[in-house]
Structure formats: structure tokens, C-alpha cells
Assembly symmetry: C2
Homo-oligomer: 258 residues x 2
């Protein structure tokens, strides 16, 4: 059974792409077959895994029902990790998708042949920093939402907005199975009082959904993308690599059916 | 004469809101009359200046030609700094605005009575992390674009996209006077090699548009918003306050007609 998890948070710069790329790489290292779909027109996950921007390579046409997602799969440098890259034109797809019948389900319709083929254990969706059409499609197609959350005040404010939206999508019937997969604290700097205050606040409000693992601020994580590598290829013994490996174990333990 | 400057970058978390709030406060401290307009549905600038979220307080209806922006002005705790706050509904305005005639000019039409009244030296527009309808309206209404830029690899990739877009808006006639006001390096951590490499790269590509002042990473800047204060109220002698004061002087020197 292929699970679909959206990595989403409308707050910008909280570590969505860094988490999608490194979780995918750590799971592939453990033998999971993973597909990463870059739904952000910025295409950071695409370049973070060393792929060039190619016109027509993204999900754009498949979202409109043209062509098949099975033809868009590309390998990455990481064994067991494939990608459907993004491109700039993906930004333009929002207008076209909005005009479609049942437009919230464009992505789940496009993913159906992939899920039926059963090639992957997991499909991870990297979302742009907005609650626009692409993110809404991702939330409608997903089994769960992984919410990376920077240990900062501004990031705290958006969390309740996201939680309310997930509840609305579930209760309205757009996606009855949608739930919060978990909240991952990122860029945690143990030296600052603010970081610990924010973590306490989140754990209090969202009891039981915050992962035990917190990702520390580690410059190696922000250097790796400039080499087109995940953290486990770039610097496998860094604090960032240890943290994402520990997180991937917690992620697996939580998402496996008991 | 009232100048309009959009603070924009589609990359998330680069310091757009932090720059808008603290530049506005530093300029007000120097005696400039400043209006900050929060165009981001996340409403971070609104809460960062200590205002509550109020339904109907945002620019939503004025963007659609209903009511006047002059009725939306609110004072802040900073003398000389007024705000038009954001609200969650602002996200919904994008669909309504898109249906309007000449939809890119909805904001410049709404700002006209404000500019004609001549109450402010400067109007600053805090933009969401996307190149959607709200940001496009801000770019069409602005005299210049201030681009905050994190000293990170992913942030580098988006810069050329933004520069290209500005050129297109100017050359297409949507906004013939639009230019890059300047590029401000933010969250600069002198201890990392990556930060200096990114700064060198940006200075090479965008010669002459990068401000001399770089804003250092300083935890006091991320603490201030949780008290609803700008950095000069929260901790006027912090490195963050010194950096934004120095930047505001450079900003003024550059934007005054010779
Ligand atoms: N734990 C970390 N330590 C240090 N730097 C990090 C960490 N996680 C992410 N970064 C860096 O912080 C920046 C923001 O992270 P990233 O781009 O992954 O966030 P995002 O949520 O995907 O952003 P956007 O909202 O633009 O999509 C990037 O430059 C990234 O390299
Ligand atoms: N120089 C700095 N030093 C330390 N922290 C900073 C600095 N500038 C901004 N921050 C913090 O980094 C985070 C991102 O900054 P901010 O929210 O201003 O970026 P933004 O570009 O407005 O984000 P978005 O794309 O979501 O609108 C915030 O939590 C902010 O408090
Ligand atoms: Mg991203
Ligand atoms: Mg912001």
C-alpha cells in the first residue's frame, strides 16, 4: 500500500524542503521505495537533489488530466528515491486547475495510476509556502500532513490556521481520511530561550502530535543543497544527518499500522 | 510626494516582515511619516506591531473598489507609523481580484486617495512568500522593490526569477517606473563560509544594488514580535537595532532624489 504524505506549512522558510529531501533520503537508505513530488514552483527540492529545471518535466499537464504521471518519474542520485521535479510554469497551473471540475481533486486523480501501480511505499509532496491551489490539492490527495515548524514566534501563529484547515477538509468530505501525521520542530537552537518556549507551547497545544526528535540548526544542512545532495551524501556524520536519521525512524514507527 | 516600496521575495522566511516592521520603525524614529500595509494573509506584520486580527480591517474590500483606504488607517505604538492590518480573509481576495477588469491595478487604484492626500513620506507593502495576485498587485503599485535575501543557497535561486519579473512588469507597461530599490542581505552569520559565498555571489550578479549594510542573525529580532514591538522598542541597543538603524540611513540616502 502506497501512503501519500504532504509536507506543508504556509509559513515560509520553516524547513519544508529540507525535511522532504532528507526524510526521503533517509527512508530510501533504510530500503523504502520513495517518490518525492516537488509541488513548489521555486523548485528547491528539484535542485536540492541535483536535477536541472526542464520544461514539461513537472506535474503541470498531468494535473490537467493530460498524459500520465507514470511518464514523469525520474531517478535521483539516491538509490530507492525517485522524483517528479518542478518547473517555473507550475505557478501558472493554479489558474488552469481552478477552472477544472472538482478542482481540489486534480492531484489525487493524477496520483491514482501511481498508487495503483504500487511501486512506492511512500509519496512525499513538497508544498509551496501558501494555502493556494497546489497546497490545497496536496492536502486533498494526502493520507497525512507532516508540518515542519521553526522554533520561532511567527511560525507559531500559523499553526492553528493549518490545523483548522485540515479539520475543514476532513469534515467537509474533501478528504475524510486526512490527519496530522506529526509536527516536526526544526532549526532548534538550544541556546535560545525563545526556542524552548515555542517548543513547550506547541507540545501543550498539540499534545501527542509533536515528534520527540527536534532538528537542530546545523549549517551542513544548508550547505548540502548547493552540491545537489541530501545530508546523508554530503556529510553523513553531521548533527543534521543524525537528526534526520533519528526522525526517519520515528516517522516510520508512527506511520506503520500497529 | 509619497513613495511606495514593496518588500517582496517569493522565497519564504527570508526576513520580509522583520525588515518591513523594523525599517518602518527606524524611519518613523527619524521623523518620517510611514504607512505599513500588511498584504500577507498570515498577518505577521500586524501581530508583530501588536495589533489584533479584526475582521474587515484589511484592504480586502478596498482592493475590490469598495470603501476607501483612508478609513482603514490605524495608529501603532510607534509615533509616526500607521498600519493597514491584514486578516485571514485577505487570502480569499485573490480569487475576487483576479476576476476584476485590469486586475493588476486594483491596489494602485486603492492607494490613489492615500497618495493624493500626501500624509506619508513612504508606504511600505509587506508581501506574502509567493508571486500570486497580491504580490503582483504590490509590484504594479510600487515605485521600487526592496528584496530581503537570506544568505542561503535556496534563497539565491529565486533572485533571478524576481529580477526577471520586475523587468517584465516594467517593459510590458504594467508599471513603467518599477525598479529594484535594493537587495538587503539578512540573517548574515559571519562564522559560516556559506554566508560569505552567497553574499559575494549576489554582489557579483547584482552589482550596485546590494546595500552595504547586512543584517546579522540576532535572536533579539525574533523575540521582539512576541511582545508586539519593533526592535527599537524591544531592545534598542541590540545588534539587530543597530543594523536596522544603519540600514534605514542607507535606505533614505539611496531613495532621496539626488
Ligand atoms: N536545521 C537547519 N539548520 C540550518 N539551516 C537549515 C535547517 N533547515 C533548513 N535550513 C535552511 O533554512 C532555509 C529554509 O529552509 P527550507 O528552504 O527547507 O524551508 P521551506 O519551508 O521549504 O521554505 P519555503 O517556504 O520557501 O518553501 C534554507 O536555506 C535551508 O537550507
Ligand atoms: N536577522 C535576524 N536574526 C534572527 N532571526 C531573524 C532575523 N530576521 C528574521 N528573523 C526570524 O526569522 C523568521 C523569518 O523571518 P520573517 O518572518 O521576517 O521572514 P518572511 O520573509 O517575512 O517570511 P514569510 O515568507 O513567511 O513571509 C522569523 O521567525 C523572524 O523572527
Ligand atoms: Mg520549500
Ligand atoms: Mg512575512
Amino acid at each position: 500500500h502506497t501512503r501519500v504524505v504532504a509536507v506543508a506549512n504556509q509559513k515560509g522558510g520553516v524547513g519544508k524542503t529540507t525535511t522532504t529531501v532528507n526524510l526521503a533520503a533517509c527512508l530510501a537508505e533504510k530500503g523504502q521505495q520513495v517518490l518525492l513530488i516537488d509541488l513548489d514552483p521555486q523548485a528547491n527540492a528539484t535542485s536540492g537533489l541535483g536535477l536541472p529545471l526542464q520544461e514539461g518535466a513537472s506535474l503541470y499537464r498531468a494535473l490537467l488530466g493530460e498524459g500520465s504521471t507514470l511518464d514523469l518519474l525520474q531517478p535521483t542520485m539516491v538509490a530507492g528515491l525517485d522524483i517528479i521535479p518542478s518547473e517555473l510554469d507550475l505557478a501558472g497551473s493554479e489558474v488552469d486547475v481552478a477552472r477544472k471540475e472538482n478542482y481540489l481533486h486534480c492531484l489525487s486523480r493524477a496520483l491514482k495510476p501511481l498508487i495503483d501501480a504500487g511501486r512506492y511505499h511512500l509519496i512525499l509532496l513538497d508544498c509551496p509556502p501558501a494555502l493556494g491551489i497546489l497546497t490545497m490539492n496536496a492536502l486533498t490527495a494526502a493520507d497525512g500532513v507532516l508540518i515542519p515548524m521553526q522554533c520561532e514566534y511567527y511560525a507559531l501563529e500559523g499553526l492553528s490556521v493549518m490545523a483548522r484547515l485540515i479539520g475543514q477538509l476532513r469534515d467537509s468530505g474533501a478528504n475524510p481520511r486526512l490527519r496530522i501525521e506529526g509536527i516536526l520542530m526544526t532549526m532548534f537552537d538550544a541556546r535560545t530561550r525563545l526556542a524552548s518556549e515555542v517548543v513547550d507551547e506547541v507540545r501543550r497545544h498539540f499534545e501527542g502530535t509533536v515528534y520527540e526528535t527536534a532538528i537542530p540548526r546545523n549549517v551542513r544542512l544548508s550547505e548540502a543543497p548547493s552540491y545537489g545532495q541530501s545530508i546523508i551524501e554530503y556529510d553523513r556524520h553531521s548533527r543534521g544527518a543524525h537528526a534526520y536519521r533519528a526522525f526517519s525512524e520515528e516517522f516510520l514507527a508512527r506511520s506503520q499500522p500497529p
